[in-house]
């Protein structure tokens, strides 16, 4: 087994036992990248020199017998919508093609403080807008299980990097499924924490009422370790929660006896791929075998979630992306006057999907349409949230598929934006309600593509989500399967 294939907790333990050094581990990861990333295209920017220096420092700290943090010396990949001081950050957009951030996002600063090694910046759909990583202005990322298929999106680069052992673990962001859906497509674990659990300071804004930072990892324990490192209040993000962060490791005790698991009938629809239906139902049976109580539940407003999401998210995006005006940073076009400078800079800098969403968001916020679309969507958003409130009075977690199908083919949905939006059908309600949810591997389809199981918890109950996920993972070995590269 090569070092790059280790999980975070395995590698950390080997480091502690002095069986490996951070330099060896980091070198193994960069060797793996050199060998395979020409096929996968997970990374937009590599930080090899800085990473080797950080690895050296980690080994020094180890020699001095400092208290070891779990992230010390661990090579971690960061989605390219997190600001990284001195390291190019593009958000996969031409408008930020040569942007060098003057500061670190809080989540990145916490990784660094924990002694992590930043390997590089991973590819995404431009401004995190997409479900396939095809909307990157630079190149599409490919699925390690089959390079003809998408890795999911928008954190497609991070998910592919974890699946292909091009890092030990990674950071992503999730506004409508952007951690969980690529995790499902690539056969890794992806956790979207509760809205407010992790600071978004220094994360390039997409839809501010839903954006959330979270880990992509090789197993549930790794996801818990990474969440532990980045969770908590940040005075620089006024939406970050002040409540205490529990010890997530304590939750991984394998005990789900008497736990009530809700299975929503609206999530098991005919459009679902048969193998997804089969594997998720089998996973639910396995959870029942471990003593969980399975209850049929209803989330009646589920069918409206996609419409609500694409109104709310695009409205917020159109406002957030107004800052890209070609004045203080980013691309500026040659033009005759100020108005042309704005319009041409944005035309040249933004890709087709970003423009489409800015247009849609501007439209639903514009005079005469605000009440009919934006306000209407906010009202239905409350109904969706209340569906979950009711269910969590009778259940501890909800279990569903992460996506209706496994990874589709590159190019399959690029001509039909609405079809692309519908691939988020199982993940976006969770963002609208601000809940935590995880995706973890629960099998493969007939073509050998991974299937994701989604476990949704009530607000700030990541611990129970992790406990259920870990119990299932311990009973199966899907997470140990590796793509042949």
């Amino acid at each position: 087994m090569t070092f790059s294939a280790l999980t975070l907790h395995e590698a950390s333990e080997k480091l502690r036992q002095r069986e490996i050094s951070s330099r060896e581990l980091t070198e193994a990861v960069f060797q793996r990248i050199a060998d395979t990333d020409e096929t996968i295209h997970a990374y937009l920017t590599l930080a090899r020199d800085a990473a080797m220096e950080q690895a050296k420092q980690a080994d020094e700290r180890l020699k001095q017998h400092e208290t070891l943090t779990p992230l010390l010396g661990m090579p971690i990949a960061v989605k390219d919508n997190f600001l990284t001081r001195g390291l190019r950050t593009t958000c996969a957009s031409k408008i930020l093609g040569d942007f060098i951030p003057p500061y670190d996002a809080t989540a990145v600063a916490k990784l660094r403080a924990g002694g992590a090694v930043i390997v590089g910046k991973t590819n995404l759909d431009e401004f995190a807008m997409g479900s396939s990583a095809e909307n990157s202005a630079f190149f599409p990322t490919r699925n390690p299980w089959n390079p003809e298929r998408i890795p999911g999106g928008s954190s497609g680069g991070s998910a592919a990097a974890v699946a292909a052992d091009l890092c030990v673990a990674a950071l992503g962001t999730d506004t409508g499924g952007s951690i969980r859906q690529p995790a499902a497509c690539c056969g890794v674990v992806g956790l979207k924490p509760t809205y407010g659990r992790v600071s978004r300071y220094g994360v390039i804004a997409f839809a501010s009422s839903m954006d959330q930072v979270g880990p992509l990892a090789k197993d549930v324990r790794d996801a818990a370790l990474l969440l532990q490192a980045i969770a908590g209040h940040d005075p620089r993000d006024s939406t970050s929660a002040t409540r205490a962060v529990p010890n997530y490791g304590d939750a991984l005790n394998g005990d789900i006896k008497g736990l009530r698991i809700g299975v929503p009938k609206e999530y098991f629809v005919s459009a679902m791929q048969p193998e997804v239906d089969r594997q998720v139902r089998q996973a639910i049976c396995q959870l029942a075998n471990h003593g969980a109580i399975i209850e049929d539940i209803s989330l009646p407003h589920t069918e409206y979630a996609v419409a609500v999401y694409y109104i709310v998210a695009t409205a917020e995006a159109s406002s957030n992306l107004a800052r890209y005006d070609g004045m203080r940073f980013g691309h500026r076009a040659d033009a005759r006057d100020l108005s042309e400078t704005y319009r041409f800079s944005r035309d040249q800098g933004f890709g087709a999907e970003v423009k489409r969403r800015i247009m849609l968001g501007t439209y639903v916020l514009s005079a005469g349409y605000y009440d009919a679309y934006y306000l209407k969507a906010q009202r239905v958003r409350r109904l969706i949230k209340e569906d979950f409130d009711h269910v969590f009075q009778q259940c501890d977690v909800i279990v569903t598929p992460t996506a209706p199908t496994t990874a589709f083919r590159i190019g399959e949905k690029t001509q039909d934006p609405l079809q692309m939006y519908l691939s988020d059908i199982y993940t976006i309600s969770i963002n609208l309600a601000g809940l935590p949810a995880i995706s973890l591997p629960c099998g493969f389809d007939d073509a050998g593509m991974p299937i994701g199981l989604q476990i949704i918890g009530s607000h700030f109950d990541e611990a129970t989500v992790l406990r259920v996920a870990h119990t299932y993972e311990q009973a199966t070995d899907w997470h140990k399967k590796k793509p042949a590269l």
């Binding site: 942007f99 060098i100 003057p102 500061y103 009422s209 005075p235 006024s238 939406t239 929660a241 002040t242 409206y304 996609v306 419409a307 694409y310 109104i311 159109s318 107004a322 005006d325 070609g326 004045m327 203080r328 940073f329 980013g330 691309h331 500026r332 033009a335 006057d337 100020l338 108005s339 042309e340 400078t341 704005y342 319009r343 041409f344 944005r346 035309d347 933004f350 087709a352 423009k355 489409r356 800015i358 247009m359 849609l360 501007t362 439209y363 514009s366 679309y373 209407k376 969507a377 906010q378 009202r379 239905v380 958003r381 409350r382 109904l383 949230k385 934006p417 609405l418 939006y421 601000g434």
Partner: protein, 95 residues
């Protein structure tokens, strides 16, 4: 039809986006289809439902009005598309 080409042109002005004729046509078709799908929200009576805008119970966070970041003009100006010494250089704003 939920929206036509003139709507797309009007919204493009509001969004400060330059669109080619081809893009205008394509966006008219695509946005119309998306808005048509969104009309399904009208199936629900929401006359008694309050809007929900933010999934957090945090209230506004105030802090002392103190400088917490150290000034680093050079790092900020390094990303400027145009600069003149320690100033951002921008196109003429007043005609």
């Amino acid at each position: 039809m939920k929206l036509n080409r003139a709507d797309v042109q009007r919204v493009a002005v509001l969004a400060r986006l330059h669109l080619s004729e081809h893009q205008e046509g394509e966006l008219t078709t695509q946005l119309d289809a998306i808005l048509d799908y969104m009309a399904k929200l009208n199936e629900i009576d929401t006359s008694k439902v309050e809007p929900f805008s933010h999934a957090t119970d945090e209230t506004n966070a105030f802090r002392e009005d103190k400088v917490t970041n150290r000034p680093d003009a050079e790092a900020l100006l390094a990303n400027a598309p145009g600069r003149d010494g320690t100033f951002f250089k921008v196109p003429k704003i007043i005609e």
